[in-house]
């Protein structure tokens, strides 16, 4: 009995109700996309990929998804995401074929160079001469999708959503045809 109580207390002590609530609000995994670099496009990556999260081993400093245009959730392949932090440190990363990108933290098991930015950070995305710069700074949020979530504000009740990140405003080029998974987020 005493041991059971200790186990329960330990579980309760390790729980973060804020994170748990956010995790439970996420859509489930797409069964057609294996867990890996292509999964959960458009979702707040660092919710799991952070110390204390369920994917803490491969924690990210910043991560997100670049989509083609504001209306469709089709990922952009090989777009460059360029960051500058408050100390002037710069870091660039390239998206995969579903538009996902991630910046591993120091000590992370995720592949690629690591970066430990000092917030606020500034960001620009570009590909083949098309460039968009985020107008404001990122104050402390490491997942793009926590602010850039869908749907974009269109109703009187929502005045905080700016919609997903998109490189083109209209007429995007065709999506990647060499992607092992569909580059469009399935509803």
């Amino acid at each position: 009995m005493r041991r059971t109580l200790l186990v329960i207390l330990a579980l309760v002590a390790c729980s973060d109700p804020v994170r748990d609530g956010q995790l439970s609000a996420l859509p489930g995994e797409n069964p057609n996309i294996p867990v890996g670099e292509y999964h959960r496009a458009g979702q707040p990556c660092v919710l799991c990929h952070s110390p204390g999260g369920p994917a803490s081993g491969s924690s990210f400093a910043v991560a997100g998804t670049i989509f083609a245009d504001p209306s469709d959730a089709v990922g952009v392949d090989q777009a460059t995401v360029a960051f500058t932090d408050t100390t002037g440190s710069q870091f660039t990363v390239t998206t995969d074929c579903v538009g996902n990108f991630f910046v591993p933290r120091p000590g992370s098991s995720a592949p690629g160079p690591t970066w430990d930015p000092q917030f606020p950070i500034f960001v620009r995305i570009f590909k083949n001469g098309v460039s968009r710069t985020m107008q404001g700074q990122i104050g402390r949020e490491r997942s793009c999708a926590n602010c850039h979530n869908d749907p974009q504000s269109t109703s009187p009740e929502i005045f905080s959503s700016v919609g997903h990140v998109s490189l083109y405003t209209s007429n995007p080029p065709p999506a990647s045809t060499n992607c092992p998974v569909p580059p469009q987020v399935q509803p």
Partner: protein, 179 residues
């Protein structure tokens, strides 16, 4: 018989308590000078001059991931961040900060610590005793880290001069350059 007696005693106790509470609330006179709304009289910096200061809060504090969230204290509205509910179609990133949003930001800033703001305006405490400076300067724990440089940040100069009588417009403009 015992049960009935106990129930009668309990009912009498509840009735007496309710009677005391109703008579107590009837006797309280809140002396509400504005006709029903309880208010704290405070000293505050100039509201008109805040138009020069609001952009500093908007750009340095009010991003959607920080104080541009409805769930946070010191809620800040801005053209690039959280919009005040409106029927004009003002959405994040579409139009400039509106006068109503600046007024609401002023109330957020003043209403954060009204008593301490009064002491600062009265000259009893320094501006750095206010959370709006202690937090970004990391003189007190701040989840968002240091939003201002420890010394000489034009953002601090802008806010401090506003509190002291007139905002230094050059400092306010410098504080948002690049943000």
């Amino acid at each position: 018989m015992k049960k009935i007696f106990g129930a009668v005693i309990a009912a009498a106790a509840v009735g007496a308590l309710a009677s005391i509470m109703s008579s107590t609330s009837a006797c309280i006179d809140f002396n509400e000078p504005d006709g029903g709304v309880r208010a704290t009289n405070i000293l505050a910096p100039d509201q008109n001059d805040f138009v020069n200061v609001s952009p500093v809060f908007e750009r340095r504090c009010g991003t959607l991931d920080c104080h541009g969230q409805v769930g946070r204290p010191l809620r800040i509205y801005s053209g690039l961040g959280l919009r005040l509910p409106n029927d004009a179609g003002n959405l994040p990133g579409t139009t400039a900060t509106t006068p109503d949003e600046i007024t609401t930001n002023y109330r957020s800033v003043i209403g954060l610590e009204p008593e301490e703001m009064t002491r600062v305006i009265a000259g009893e405490d320094p501006p750095r005793s206010l959370l709006i400076l202690k937090k970004p300067l990391l003189l007190e724990a701040h989840k968002g880290g240091p939003a201002f440089a420890p010394s000489g940040d034009p953002g601090e100069t802008c806010i401090t001069t506003w509190i002291q009588g007139q905002a230094d417009k050059n400092a306010c403009n410098q504080a948002i350059a690049g943000f």
